[in-house]
């Protein structure tokens, strides 16, 4: 398969993730859609690494996975904190960022 097909799949997954971030209201699902976008970027990185025959893109993908894990951890901690305060878990309801 040509590398272009992988890039098409990557772009499609990224677009689906972006539309999901805009559409969904639960912050849990918004985080899941962010994961989709990061994974699309990973797929593009690894496709380019295969294209150039160089493993630097794979290192980049591993680092992106680490950053995604950190983002998930902090985001889920925020969701748990919101739930503890009995606030509605809805991104449209949370408009104020001051504590």
């Amino acid at each position: 398969m040509a590398i272009g097909w992988y890039l098409v799949v990557s772009a499609l997954i990224f677009a689906i993730g972006a539309a999901g971030v805009l559409t969904r209201r639960s912050p849990l699902v918004v985080l899941l859609c962010l994961e989709l976008m990061l994974n699309a970027a990973n797929l593009a990185l690894i496709a380019f690494a295969r294209m150039h025959g160089d493993a630097d893109g794979q290192i980049f993908a591993v680092i992106v996975m680490v950053v995604a894990a950190c983002e998930v951890t902090v985001g889920l901690g925020l969701i748990v904190a919101i739930h503890r305060r009995r606030l509605p878990i809805d991104v449209d309801e949370m408009r104020e960022l001051q504590g």
Binding site: I16, A18, A55, M65, T73, V80, D90
Partner: protein, 243 residues
């Protein structure tokens, strides 16, 4: 064979992504994301990225998704309500935005004349391409600084998650004090604890005063034994040791 595998994995990945966005229950969204990640790992294997595929399955689909499932179970995972804000207009705008983004990305990657994309576009690979040995060697030699920064970032994220998700305000001092005084109320007097012995030795009172056990008032003894100056009151009848 590779084409068939690519189309199977690609369709699985796209179906999983659509399932994440479309499904209403967050628990089912997480399960759809797990299937999406597994399909994506198959795509990584087709691209000769063995270590990244293994890390994807083990770390992402294994650990991070378990964290998601735990939080969904804790928060409740209820279906999101159909409010007036998430109306049909926003859906259409979001879908149009996604389609426009997809077209734009395709033009940017395919139509811009990047070399070797239009052709087969495959470089000749070294024998150990994408193996854990090569990735580990690169991480420890050429990319040592990003590796260390990533570990530090993981540490910060772990500490931040603990700070964010702890009980609000932690254990307050008043609550702590109330619990300890209640334990002092419940603790029988003259059982030989170190705090009690220090309090009574400081007051200069002998530890055990033998007296008739029937005349002891239970509550008065318990309350005054909890306070440090209880030994100074001679009218308080102390209890026996094994009372």
């Amino acid at each position: 064979m590779a084409e068939v595998l690519f189309f199977l994995a690609g369709i699985g990945a796209i179906a999983g992504a659509i399932g994440v966005v479309v499904l209403r229950n967050p628990f089912y969204s997480v399960l759809a994301l797990v299937s999406h990640l597994l399909s994506l790992a198959a795509l990584f294997l087709l691209l000769r990225a063995e270590f990244v595929a293994a890390a994807q399955v083990v770390v992402y689909a294994g650990a991070v998704m378990v964290l998601y499932v735990f939080v969904v179970a804790y928060v409740g995972g209820q279906d999101e309500p159909l409010g007036p804000r998430a109306g049909r207009g926003l859906r259409l705008v979001a879908a149009a935005f996604g389609a426009a983004l997809f077209v734009e990305l395709c033009i940017a990657t395919l139509g811009s004349g990047l070399q070797a994309i239009g052709t087969d576009g495959r470089a000749d690979l070294a024998p150990g391409f994408g193996s854990p040995a090569q990735i580990g060697e690169l991480l420890l030699t050429r990319f040592l600084l990003p590796f260390e920064i990533a570990s530090f970032l993981l540490l910060i994220a772990a500490v931040g998650a603990v700070v964010l998700a702890r009980r609000r305000g932690g254990i307050t001092a008043a609550e702590d004090q109330a619990r300890y005084s209640a334990m002092d109320m419940l603790r029988p007097a003259y059982t030989g604890t170190m705090a009690e012995a220090a309090g009574h030795r400081g007051a200069g009172t002998p530890l055990i005063i033998p007296e008739a056990a029937g005349s002891t008032d239970e509550e008065v003894t318990a309350v005054t034994a909890g306070s440090p100056d209880s030994g100074k009151d001679p009218s308080t009848p102390p209890r026996d040791k094994d009372a």
